[in-house]
């Protein structure tokens, strides 16, 4: 298949080209072939000299050359006339509007055919420069391969800053009408393509076609005046049973000035290209596809338009709109294209062959995913990353990025694998539950209901349930997967979130890695995974983004640049406050401190700008969480609590020493020795760093955060406040405050050590370096110890997946069938305390501790149930218990208790046993009249409210998002690269 003539110019580029050489090429006799080159020019005076020079430098010159000036208003006609005179070519002025008509005019100027030779036409653009062997390669390959059409490798010329890049190797058309060019976007031309392949078509630039086929197909279709005409021609040739090949050995430099918007009067070229692409796809549709394809094309185009708008590329969206309008308005074009296709009467086999030369149905999606993946890797490796949403000033140092990409990738992959091992018991059958984690909603609809359906005076459920529902939606609508992913992914997610922050504030890459890993381990050391604390994990992930955002806000206020950071900070802060409202006042205090500091350092202008940005950020939060503010005002204790805080209980507060060692209390904390070593090391590093480099930038801020966090932890744990709408008394968990404190400690240590490392590099060798190396080893070992504990035992504990429940399924099924009936579940702890809850047919799910479970905001009923439970568990033999249960609509009572107590409870009048297991029993109460059934449907105003919140966040996200880098520009290289499909934000 390989064909490459000897002694090509590309040999200079590719010293190994001889490997691919074959003898067969030498046997092709080009003397039997006559080539007529037709160069059509339109307002191309700037590029035509180079094109003509290329023509004159060919190793195998065309037999005839026709230069067609297609109604240019510049010097094109004069340039053509001069060249024709000099080289004995023909120059033809033609008042035509399409390339097709230009070629036709050129052909019409020629007379006579050579009966002994096979005629070929070679079509050229005025912005194309053929490499010397281009024609020889094309013709040889076409003859050798028995192809009717041969298209060259088109490259964008090299510039001073940028190497030559391959732009096309034949052209196909995706189902959306998008151009498919058979090379990767931005691929540097290194001669790496060497295989001749069949293609659907190609650009008309450099396209070689046998004259008889040209005549049979009636040449180019004037319905496509400027773009896609070559693809149409090739497509029709394929349908006619002819072969169309791309010859990579033949190279033509093509500036693509039309697509690049560089040609005078070519502003609409990109829109036309889209329009023609869609028309081409619609024209080639057959059967039912004739109806469906236009609809699909229009819908796809609208979606692309929205995508461009979200990517803040309004010019691209404009192109798309123009293309769509052109397609819809210019339906006559489709008919004209179809008329030519109809003449061919293709065989089914040829139709299938042509279809096989087009990209598959999901090719575009795959390219988008590839692009996003590549983009993420680029970003995560250096400053920027996920939090590019919250920063403006991200610049990538190419050198650094490549040297660190491997380390970051390896670390990320290792941490993900470690998380899978550590979280081994989080996967499997059943539902994931823990001391602070209720089962996720059964389906997406229920997950949204938990958020949207208000209880009591609320306008809406707690906002963290909305975040959970949206994450569930993203995870193919499985709330259980969302919960599992968050609990199991605590460390990797925190690591990914904190990396960009470390890159922003730390110089030394080793210190960055230490700080990132140390921070990422904090949630598990604080019991996030073992206790199932979604709020803590959410805080661990979002907090670095908020900090990064605030740094961005301050930077942008000082520099006076964009507002993106403000919007981005607002979005991140919204997520954080949704889970942990306490962060809102904390951030406000932080911003006020920043205002003072900026005022002192940079004056009033910067303060004004900072205030403006701070207001924007807070406005995003205020509006996004609007329905939740009344609840926060009515019950101020919400400010201190996280998700489902009612589960926390009122056990004794941790001591100061426990807090200092990152032990907020609760079940399944990390072993004391692990906390002591790992957290102790953080203290040591922070203090040593502070003593050695007390002036390091950011050190005081880090300590302020750390000490503020510890003070908050102390304050929170000394309180007992009502939680949830049912006002259950709890001692607020110190976990999130400790996350802030220990995060500050990590930051203080890292900043100090970073400064020390910087100093060491400039210092002569002495005892200091070995001591520093030893300290580094100790730091690394403690982090490894923490990570080791996490992998081995970090996932073990009461948070586990189980399908064994106290309440049998038939109970919830029965309750579900009779709205307004309820169940009472009681578990008697070792100390005799009766833990109880009332549930409905929906069971108990995430958010029910906040939403008051089966009783909602009915405080009186809650009191009655509490007393009733106490009487029941006391096994007093009180015969009014059944009557009281009936009054409350409680039809089932499920109790987990020691057998003897269950036996005594069994003596309660009116209870009929319906289920018996060791240590568990379920009774039914007869003749229960349903109580008022809770609301179970979302009303239109509630839905409207949620949509409004979503739209607001999308707007904020839009304002925060970076622009699509490859938006329309006058840089042809970039434009062409973009046209090749690289539509990913960079």
């Amino acid at each position: 298949m390989e064909t490459r003539p000897e002694g090509t110019v590309d040999d200079a580029v590719d010293p190994w080209a001889w490997v691919d050489q074959t003898d067969e090429a030498e046997q092709v006799d080009l003397d039997d072939h006559r080539v007529t080159a037709i160069l059509v020019g339109h307002n191309g005076a700037e590029w035509i000299p180079a094109a003509i020079k290329g023509l004159t430098s060919l190793s195998h010159a065309p037999d005839r050359v026709v230069l067609v000036d297609a109604g240019s208003s510049d010097d094109t006609g004069e340039l053509f006339a001069e060249a024709a005179e000099e080289h004995d070519w023909r120059s033809v002025p033609a008042e035509v509007t399409s390339f097709a008509d230009g070629v036709r005019a050129g052909l019409n100027s020629l007379h006579g055919r050579d009966a002994d030779r096979i005629d070929w036409l070679w079509l050229l653009h005025d912005d194309a420069v053929a490499r010397p062997d281009a024609l020889a390669q094309l013709l040889t390959s076409a003859v050798d391969q028995d192809a009717a059409i041969a298209t060259p490798r088109l490259v964008q010329p090299a510039t001073r800053q940028d190497p030559a890049r391959v732009s096309e190797l034949g052209v196909s058309v995706a189902r959306s009408g998008r151009r498919e060019v058979h090379v990767d976007a931005g691929e540097i031309d290194q001669g790496q393509h060497d295989t001749i392949s069949e293609v659907l078509g190609g650009s008309t630039c450099g396209l070689l076609i046998r004259r008889d086929i040209w005549d049979r197909l009636d040449g180019l279709n004037p319905a496509l005046p400027a773009h896609r005409d070559g693809v149409d021609l090739g497509w029709r040739a394929n349908l006619a049973g002819e072969r169309v090949i791309a010859v990579p050995g033949a190279c033509v430099e093509h500036r693509q000035v039309g697509l690049g918007g560089l040609r005078e009067g070519s502003d609409r070229d990109a829109a036309e290209d889209r329009s023609y692409g869609m028309a081409l796809v619609a024209a080639h549709a057959h059967g039912l596809g004739r109806v469906w394809t236009p609809i699909r094309l229009v819908l796809g185009s609208v979606l692309r338009m929205i995508g461009f708008l979200l990517g803040k590329a309004p010019d691209r969206a404009g192109d798309e709109l123009g293309g769509l309008a052109g397609f819809v308005i210019g339906r006559g074009r489709v008919a004209r294209l179809r008329a030519r296709i109809k003449q061919i009467r293709p065989e089914p086999a040829d139709r299938r062959r042509a279809l096989g030369l087009r990209p598959g149905p999901f090719h575009g999606v795959r390219r988008l995913i590839d692009g996003l993946g590549a983009s993420w890797v680029d970003r995560s490796a250096g400053p920027g990353g996920i939090d590019a949403l919250t920063g403006d000033d991200y610049t990538v140092q190419e050198q650094q990025r490549f040297s660190w990409r491997g380390t970051y990738l390896v670390t990320a992959v290792a941490i993900i694998i470690a998380a899978l091992i550590a979280g081994r018991q989080f996967f499997g059958r059943g539902t994931l539950t823990g001391p602070a984690l209720l089962p996720a909603a059964g389906d997406l609809s229920h997950a949204f209901d938990q958020w949207l359906i208000p209880v009591g005076d609320w306008l809406q459920g707690p906002p963290w349930l909305g975040v959970h529902a949206v994450v569930s939606f993203l995870l193919v609508g499985r709330p259980e997967w969302a919960t599992t992913a968050v609990v199991a992914g605590a460390v990797p997610l925190a690591l990914l979130a904190v990396w960009p922050l470390t890159a922003r504030i730390l110089e030394d890459r080793r210190v960055r890695l230490w700080a990132g890993l140390s921070y990422a381990l904090l949630p598990v050391l604080l019991g996030a995974s073992t206790q199932g604390r979604l709020g803590l994990i959410a805080a661990a992930v979002v907090l670095p983004l908020v900090v990064r955002g605030i740094i961005g806000v301050i930077s942008s206020a000082i520099d006076g640049h964009s507002w993106r950071a403000a919007w981005g900070s607002g979005v991140a802060l919204t997520l954080l406050v949704a889970f942990q409202p306490i962060f809102l006042p904390l951030v406000v205090v932080g911003l006020l401190a920043a205002v003072i500091a900026v005022g002192v350092e940079h004056g009033g202008g910067a303060v004004k700008r900072l205030l403006g940005r701070a207001v924007v950020a807070l406005l995003v939060v205020a509006v996004a969480l609007l329905p939740w503010w009344p609840a926060l005002i009515a019950q101020p204790s919400w400010w201190l609590l996280g998700p489902d805080a009612g589960l926390d209980g009122t056990s004794l507060a941790p001591t100061v020493w426990e807090l200092a060692l990152g032990r907020p209390g609760g079940e399944a904390m990390a072993p004391l020795w692990v906390s002591a070593i790992v957290i102790g090391a953080l203290w040591a590093v922070a203090l040593v760093g502070t003593v050695l480099r007390s002036a390091a930038p950011g050190l005081r801020g880090a300590w302020a955060i750390a000490l503020g966090g510890f003070a908050l932890a102390v304050a929170l744990t000394r309180l007992v406040v009502p939680a949830g709408i049912d006002q259950v008394f709890v001692r607020p968990s110190a976990a999130v405050a400790l996350l802030v404190a220990l995060g500050g400690l990590v930051m203080a240590g890292a900043v100090g050590i970073d400064a020390v490392a910087e100093g060491l590099a400039a210092r002569d060798f002495s005892w200091v370096q070995p001591a520093a190396a030893l300290a580094a080893v100790v730091m690394a070992l403690t982090t490894v110890l923490g990570a080791g504990w996490w992998v081995v035992a970090g996932g073990s504990g009461p948070t586990t997946r189980s399908d064994v429940h106290l309440v049998p399924a038939f109970v919830t099924d029965e309750l579900g069938r009779t709205p307004g009936t309820r169940g009472l579940a009681v578990e008697v702890a070792e100390d005799g305390t009766a833990h109880h809850v009332v549930f409905t047919g929906a069971g108990i799910h995430l958010g029910d501790a906040d939403r008051g479970a089966g009783l909602g905001a009915d405080a009186e009923a809650a009191d009655r149930v509490s007393q009733l439970t106490r009487r029941l568990v006391a096994a007093t033999g009180d015969e009014t218990i059944a009557e009281d249960l009936r009054d409350l609509g409680i039809r089932y009572v499920a109790v987990r208790a020691p057998d003897d107590l269950i036996g005594r409870i069994n003596g309660t009048a009116g209870l009929r046993v319906v289920s018996v297991h060791p240590g568990e029993r379920v009774w039914e109460i007869s003749d229960v009249v349903p109580a008022t059934a809770p609301e179970t449907t979302v009303t239109r105003p509630q839905l409207g409210l949620a949509i409004g919140q979503g739209v607001w966040l999308v707007i904020a996200g839009f304002c925060a998002a970076p622009r699509l880098r490859a938006s329309r520009s006058k840089d042809p290289v970039l434009r062409a690269r973009f046209a090749a499909g690289q539509e990913v934000a960079r």
Partner: protein, 473 residues
């Protein structure tokens, strides 16, 4: 100057740490508001006393209460009240065989008790019999029963509800669990007592010696029941005593039997290990001067599922006492105690393990014209305890108040000489087990009976309760 600057940050940091630490050290932690209260308000409880439908004796139904509310005495399931108490006092009714219910409402649920008494001079039930009226339970253990030979026991199962109930009976003999016929799926009609004689239930060969010690477990499989055992002892054709045996405390590692009668006569401790591992049991007497291990009873092996009898009349030497049985496996325990007096016929009673009283308890019968009562209080706590025993008459009037001081492990005895009908025992101790031993010399019989003091569950402090949605996940 720069040197000073260098030290400012560390100094401020350390000062901040000290400040936060001090705050954590000295700021007291808030406590949740206490959720106190009892189940007395609007509560209603029913206790049941049952007799053998074939038992033609005359009985005395006694109920006493020391609170407001209402205490109704009625035949089970009958709408008419036999008597109603609405203020502190007692009621004593002569009744015939029937199941009787005593329904307490309001404060009476926390401070009332009732019992059934029978005193007969002849026949198979000769002697003094007493049973406390008790509430329904899921599982009833009866220790020291018999299925033939010298002891014939009949289980009286009463269904207090309008729905049928069902029970099954398991036997534990000297060698272990015994096979029985017709012992499962025994239906108990609504609002009625069913008498289930144990005689004949054991299949041939399942037990070699019917005189061996035996314990039964009456387990409710549907509905709820109250159960008591009617025991008749005989030697050949000669009646040696009869009484009701009330259910003992469910299997536990420690059991306390208060009210071991003073005086001569057989004292056979019966211990059953219903578990699957053999138990080593130790028996202590809680004497007037404190606890001591009884000779030969410091290490008693009880095979898995088996029942053993331990003669204690020797070691006890006729003293009033309590018994503390401790074991490495959960066991149940009771004591067959016979009276013995010159020129008088013998009688029997079976004190069983009971829970400690909580705060106060009512003893519905202490003494009458024909019956003399001895209140025995055993303190099984580690610390000395005090208690007040207030004797009252039918109208609730206080007749006598005795203060009892008890050392750790000691038993106190109050002989009641004055005619009194009922008593209230009040204590702050949490390990005080109380019973009254009733004796009678009427009809040439050394009548002997035993009644425990049991605090009404409704009067106990209710356990704390917290809302916890995790329970139903």
């Amino acid at each position: 100057m720069r040197k000073i600057d260098r030290h400012i940050t560390p100094a401020v940091v350390i000062a901040g740490m000290a400040l936060v630490g001090a705050a954590g050290w000295f700021v007291p932690q808030a406590s949740p508001p206490l959720d106190s209260g009892t189940g007395e308000v609007d509560a209603r409880t029913t206790v049941v006393c049952a007799t053998d439908p074939d038992d033609d004796r005359e009985f005395e139904l006694v109920a006493a209460g020391n609170a407001g509310g209402k205490l109704r005495l009625a035949e089970l399931g009958q709408p008419d009240d036999l008597e109603v108490l609405t203020e502190p006092g007692a009621a004593a009714l002569k009744v015939e065989t029937n199941p009787y219910g005593v329904v307490a409402t309001g404060p009476m649920t926390t401070s009332s008790a009732s019992a059934l008494l029978a005193l007969t001079g002849s026949g198979a039930d000769r002697g003094l019999s007493a049973q406390p009226c008790r509430g329904s339970g899921d599982d009833h253990w009866f220790v020291g029963v018999g299925a033939g030979g010298t002891q014939f026991s009949t289980v009286l199962v009463t269904n207090p509800d309008a729905q049928p109930a069902e029970v099954s009976i398991r036997f534990h003999g000297p060698e272990g669990p015994l096979n029985a016929v017709g012992a499962s799926g025994i239906e108990v009609p609504p609002l009625a007592t069913r008498a289930i004689p144990l005689e004949g239930m054991l299949t041939d060969g399942s037990v070699d010696d019917l005189d061996g010690p035996m314990t039964i477990e009456v387990r409710t499989t549907a509905g709820r029941v109250e159960a008591v055992v009617h025991d008749r002892h005989q030697d050949g054709t000669e009646t040696t005593g009869a009484d009701w045996t009330t259910a003992t405390v469910a299997p536990a590692l420690s059991q306390v039997i208060p009210g071991v009668p003073a005086g001569a006569g057989e004292r056979s401790l019966v211990v059953t290990n219903p578990g699957e591992r053999s138990a080593v049991v130790r028996v202590e007497a809680l004497g007037v001067d404190g606890a001591f291990v009884l000779d030969g009873a410091d290490e008693i092996d009880v095979p898995a599922g088996a029942t053993v009898r331990v003669p204690l009349e020797g070691p006890l030497q006729g003293d009033a006492a309590g018994l503390r049985i401790t074991s490495d496996q959960p066991v149940v325990a009771g004591l067959n105690a016979f009276s013995e007096a010159k020129d008088r016929a013998t009688d029997v009673t079976t004190p069983v393990a009971v829970p400690p009283i909580v705060g106060s308890a009512i003893l519905p019968i202490v003494s009458t014209a024909d019956v003399k009562g001895t209140v025995q209080l055993s303190n099984t706590g580690d610390q000395p305890a005090t208690a007040e025993v207030v004797l009252r008459d039918r109208n609730g009037k206080e007749i006598e108040r005795s203060n009892v001081e008890l050392g750790a492990g000691a038993t106190g005895v109050i002989e009641v000489d004055d005619p009194a009908l009922w008593a209230e025992v009040i204590t702050e101790a949490d390990q005080l087990h109380v019973a009254v031993v009733l004796t009678s010399t009427r009809n040439q019989t050394a009548g002997l009976a035993w009644l425990p003091a049991i605090s009404p569950p409704a009067g106990q402090a209710l356990p704390p309760a917290v809302v916890d949605p995790r329970v139903a996940r």
